[in-house]
């Protein structure tokens, strides 16, 4: 008998925390798919390490979301027993790995945001979110540096690596806008100093990625149209497939431990 999905009472703070937890879990899971398949050993370890950092951030955020919700859910239930439409992550995070260039570009645009975001969140009036931010900020800084070096190496590498990196930027660009979206439920948290307004980070984010992309002899698309929906559970087809793998054990053998 498959384990049924749980219900979550998504008050603004629970929803806000869940969204960030889902970003970290889903992106971390994507990176973990590279384990044993990366182009070289050092990179295999790097991607697995970044995945581990993201998984750790997800665990702390899920634990906090469950505590704030106070309905008996926990980090495992939130990760393993929600359906695809209950997931709140950015569409960017769930995009398939594709080739190595696509994985690096996806991580690069996210880390460039996460680095600024977590640093700003250290000033959150919420003590737990601020503590999680203090840890995540340093980790994100390492991720950003690592990905930036790769973007330059791929873009300013061979004709083939350049082409692949440029294609990745063009294809993923429409998913970057969602990182800066704010809805009514988040507006209240921003006003209370619990959350930061991501739109205030966009100029610096753009500056960071423009510098790296230019050095890599790549170009950012001029297209401003942005895809959204992940934050309210409208996902691309890819997330369901990802979750079926991520959740299969707990769905098939409810409560299994080892």
């Amino acid at each position: 008998m498959a384990a049924p999905s749980i219900q979550v009472s998504e008050t603004p703070l629970v929803l806000y925390t869940l969204r960030r937890a889902d970003d970290a879990l889903i992106l971390g899971h994507r990176l973990s798919e590279w384990c044993g398949h990366a182009p070289m050993l050092e990179e295999d370890m790097a991607l697995a390490n970044i995945a581990l950092d993201l998984l750790g951030q997800a665990r702390e955020l899920y634990g906090y979301a469950a505590k704030v919700e106070g309905k008996g859910n926990d980090e495992d239930k939130l990760a393993y027993l929600r359906d695809v439409r209950q997931y709140r992550n950015l569409l960017l995070a769930e995009q398939p790995n594709g080739d190595f260039a696509r994985t690096i570009v996806r991580q690069f645009v996210y880390s460039a945001f996460a680095d600024l975001y977590w640093r700003a969140m250290m000033a959150s009036t919420d003590e737990t979110l601020s503590a999680i931010a203090a840890k995540s900020e340093k980790e994100s800084a390492y991720h950003l540096r690592h990905c930036s070096e790769w973007v330059v190496r791929l873009g300013d590498g061979t004709a083939e690596s350049h082409r692949r990196a440029q294609t990745a930027i063009d294809d993923l660009w429409a998913f970057t806008g969602e990182m800066f979206s704010v809805d009514d439920s988040e507006r209240g948290l921003i006003d209370a100093g619990i959350a930061v307004d991501p739109t205030s980070l966009r100029a610096r984010w753009l500056k960071t990625i423009t510098e790296v992309v230019s050095e890599a002899t790549l170009v950012l698309p001029q297209n401003d149209w942005m895809q959204q929906g992940g934050r309210i559970g409208n996902h691309s087809e890819h997330l369901g497939h990802l979750l079926s793998e991520l959740q299969s054990m707990q769905r098939t053998f409810p409560g299994a431990t080892w």
Binding site: E42, M45, A46, D53, L55, E127, I132
Partner: protein, 166 residues
């Protein structure tokens, strides 16, 4: 008398908890690492230990929590609870001098003393823990565990782990 006895009990509990070593780097105790924050004696005589996680995803943390409970049990403190505190966030600055020395002797270059962003991203000068040479280079930002990077010494040609600033 009672206060003295309590202080003695608390010291014994601290020593027991502080004897636990990092499962990945067994020369370092949780006290050397700065992971062990507080040991308190509750009114009913049971012990509560507060630890702070190092890296968000460090898999050693659950083993450390378990090992602390076992160490306390062996020292005669049953029903000890180990609590994880997130704030203030752990930094490599909390690693003791003793811990840094032990790391170096174990063959791992200790973290630079300041965990500021400048230390994270400025020019890194890492000394080879084998021969002491400053002629070293970064091989990979991410090493065998989340807390380490892989370096190589240009003098003795040996690769080595560097405990990253955090």
């Amino acid at each position: 008398m009672l206060a003295e006895r309590e202080a003695d009990l608390r010291r014994r509990a601290w020593d027991a908890a502080a004897s636990v070593v990092d499962p990945e780097i067994p020369v370092l105790t949780v006290a050397d690492l700065g992971v062990l924050r507080e040991v308190t004696l509750r009114d009913d005589g049971s012990v509560e230990v507060a630890i702070t996680p190092t890296y968000s995803g460090c898999p050693a943390m659950s083993t450390i929590a378990f090992d602390i409970a076992v160490a306390l049990e062996r020292a005669g403190f049953a029903d000890a609870t180990v609590r994880t505190v997130l704030s203030p966030a752990w930094t490599t600055d909390w690693m003791s001098e003793e811990g840094r020395r032990k790391l170096r002797e174990y063959g791992i270059a200790p973290p630079s003393p300041a965990s500021s962003r400048r230390a994270l991203f400025g020019i890194q000068q890492v000394q080879c823990p084998q021969c002491g040479s400053a002629e070293t280079e970064l091989l990979s930002e991410f090493g065998s565990t989340s807390c380490k990077a892989l370096w190589r010494c240009r003098s003795c040609r040996e690769p080595f782990d560097y405990f990253k600033c955090h």
